[in-house]
Symmetry: C2
Subunit: 281 residues, 2 copies
């Protein structure tokens, strides 16, 4: 790991790739806690967990989801993570099944030593998620933390380049991506995952760090592809891709504070300054 | 090659990777003509050439560029391509150094059997291009041809996801990319080129075909990286990447007419319909 300097403010980030079990909230929270403690013991300051890490993904029915979803930040899952973050002095981003009144969201929560920080609700819902969840209504928030400016995107959000561009233009220096990537119909299973390609392109063209924590395993016949990934602001991997099948924890040292300066590419070019907002808004 | 059907309208596309010589317009046009005839003889109907294919790239001075740039469509370079397209009954997209009055543009022209069709002027100028060229003032046109709806982007335009998104939303089914890719400072020379990654992501997330024709060789100390590429609307390569150093012609059969239907991914998801224009415009 590089030495800390006045100019850079290095942060050790971890992506936890594991296999949540559908319907087993308490057991999933136990599994999360164990892995967060492991990552903390290895020096992680910012820890990213998969999408719907507390509930599992393949719901049989709305009634099943209703039994698993919890309010944020007052529900069992959020409270457990908030308590853990305070105890360990770490920041955690985790996908959670959220209920708000009688509405369900595929959400992710950020918490830290200071407690609950904020929630992002997935804006682009993939396939049968549309049967169970409402589309996110909180926009694309960027959270200003002592570690850096953190944005969140979830899985299919990454298929929309606007997600990353909007977060970048709102100041995000690192985007945490809780995800449950599934195989693409057109994907050669031996080739690099298109999800990895999309996030490399996003990190490079926006000049920011991206940390994707995927799940593994097969749930009710639906396989997930692993290959969690931590990307430098150049778009090149700092850690991963992780295994396609096995649980793993990826670690990397990132410098969110260096992002604004890196977006100035040379004496002529600047990632944001070169945008033709006169043409495309 | 697949059989032609009523539903699909296959088009054979070719990307010509070659080495223009700085300052040698007549010789470059001869080299282009020879390679276009070869591609036509192999069945190509739509032929893409590199950026600034008639002039070369590394200008010493504005005065040098002024000697090489030609009006479009009335100048020598454009007229030569227009005549060739009519004779061979093909469509050609080529990067050309354009002068319009006393203004210079890094442009690309589309012509076909019916003659001159249109011009695109590069909107995002890389590095020292800013010393010689004005930024494009023609927006991102989409040209409706008998082969399909064709958009054009040039090199650094591809670093802006907005380029592809705007062209896609304006109806483009295939984007032709004349380019002069240079090594990235942060690129492992053995790894896949970031330019290839960016265009794979763009083809996939917009559901359209992309054909990149790069140059090779080293000009006044500036190396170019080859690796021309023709991408399916899924983002996966149909041809290429070509060699990093050698001249080559890539061929692929694409079906531009199939693009609109392919953007409907399943009963819930549609690439454009899922966009959250309420959030990001």
């Amino acid at each position: 790991m590089p030495l800390e300097t006045a100019q850079s403010n290095p942060v050790t980030i971890a992506c936890i790739q594991f296999e949540p079990k559908i319907g087993e909230v308490a057991a999933n929270l136990d599994a999360i806690e164990e892995r967060v403690r492991t990552a903390h013991a290895k020096g992680a300051q910012l820890i990213v967990l998969p999408e719907l890490a507390d509930s599992g993904y393949v719901f049989d029915s709305a009634e099943e989801l209703a039994k698993l979803a919890r309010p944020i930040p007052d529900g069992e899952s959020a409270q457990r993570l908030i308590t853990l973050a305070a105890e360990l002095d770490v920041y955690i981003v985790s996908g959670l099944a959220e209920v708000a009144g009688d509405t369900f969201y595929n959400s992710a929560m950020l918490c830290g030593p200071e407690g609950y920080i904020g929630t992002y609700r997935k804006m682009h819902l993939w396939y049968r998620e549309n049967l169970f969840f409402e589309k996110g209504d909180l926009g694309l928030p960027v959270f200003d933390t002592p570690l850096g400016k953190i944005g969140i995107a979830i899985c299919y959000d990454g298929w929309f380049p606007e997600t990353f561009r909007q977060l970048a233009m709102k100041g995000a220096e690192v985007i945490c991506v809780p995800t449950n990537w599934v195989p693409m119909p057109d994907q050669d299973p031996e080739a690099e995952a298109m999800s990895n390609i999309l996030h490399k392109a996003a990190a490079h063209s926006n000049g920011l760090f991206i940390a994707c924590a995927d799940r593994v395993g097969t749930e009710r016949g639906q396989p997930f592809i692993g290959q969690s990934l931590i990307l430098d602001a150049t778009g090149w991997p700092l850690a991963g891709p992780a295994s396609r099948e096995e649980e793993d924890i990826l670690y990397a040292v990132i410098t969110p504070s260096a992002v604004p300066a890196k977006r100035k590419l040379n004496e002529f070019n600047d990632i944001f300054g070169d945008r033709r907002s006169d043409v495309y808004g």
